[in-house]
């Protein structure tokens, strides 16, 4: 009787370890989803003395500007009018809190390209913006 119980316990333990490993693999594979929302082709300039990016604010709007001047939010290309609408909506949804706007522009992008995004922010009522840069490159 005791032997049968031991056999059953051993079998359950193996299954449990198997499930735990499956869960670990699942979390490891899905945890970089947030990074995938960012355009990997954007190579930020390096600012070793900049303030370290704090915990991501769920209200923040990240505007990406590629080296060719393509403006995207969450990988969706937007026109200036659409970007304006996105920022205005974020402002309306987050009242009375201020919407943090971060511009992630490629280091090779000209200021004329980035200016469009900056001017749209200003037109939408955002005067305080953050410029994203690499503090330390991983590789």
């Amino acid at each position: 009787m005791r032997k049968q119980e031991e056999v059953a316990m051993g079998g359950q333990l193996v299954a449990m370890i198997d499930v735990v490993f499956q869960i670990i693999i699942f979390f490891v594979c899905t945890s970089n989803m947030q990074d995938n929302a960012r355009d990997a082709e954007i190579h930020l300039a390096v600012a070793p003395h900049g303030r370290v990016e704090a915990q991501k604010n769920p209200l923040q709007v990240e505007i990406e500007v590629s080296s060719r001047g393509r403006v995207t939010v969450g990988r969706s290309p937007l026109t200036e009018r659409e970007l304006y609408d996105v920022i205005r909506k974020a402002i309306n949804d987050s009242r009375p809190q201020q919407v943090p706007v971060i511009i992630r522009a490629d280091g090779r992008a000209t200021h004329a390209m980035v200016r469009k995004a900056m001017d749209t922010c200003t037109a939408a009522g955002i005067m305080q913006i953050s410029i994203a840069a690499f503090k330390e490159k991983g590789q």
Partner: protein, 136 residues
């Protein structure tokens, strides 16, 4: 016959250590291959005034400010062209006197984002936090 049956039961009851070590090494390999160093990002806070506010401010008495120009191929301060090192020295000197000084960065359309970030980085290094960006 009875001894054989008892041995089989013992084998089934114990955890298969060899298989578990095998799986553990498989996982270790997986993590080593897939893990890569994390990029650390920095945020450089700036003020981007609206065009109409600039005009109204010009009518008032302008506050003391430093003007840094960002060109495609270099920088200038007070119309004097300079490199990053000299700009750093100048900013360090000014920050030593007053860290509350207002820095106005004026970028030409053909200047790169790297040029702007370099100036913002020097401002962060010298603890100058009141920064405005203007476009030319």
């Amino acid at each position: 016959m009875a001894r054989k049956k008892r041995q089989t039961e013992n084998q089934a009851g114990e955890l298969n250590l060899t298989a578990m070590i095998d799986v553990a090494f498989q996982l270790l390999n997986f993590f080593v291959i897939t893990t890569h160093p994390v990029d650390v990002f920095a945020n450089l806070d700036v003020f981007r005034p609206a065009a109409e506010k600039v005009i109204s401010k010009q009518e008032e008495e302008p506050p003391p400010m430093l003007e840094v120009m960002v060109y495609r191929d270099g920088y200038a301060m007070g119309k004097r062209p300079m490199g990053l090192r000299e700009l750093d020295r100048r900013l360090e000197k000014i920050a030593g006197i007053d860290k509350g000084s207002m820095v106005v960065i004026k970028c030409t359309g053909d200047s790169t984002q790297t040029g702007l970030v370099n100036v913002l980085d020097l401002c962060a290094k010298n603890k100058l936090s009141k920064i405005s960006i203007f476009s030319l």
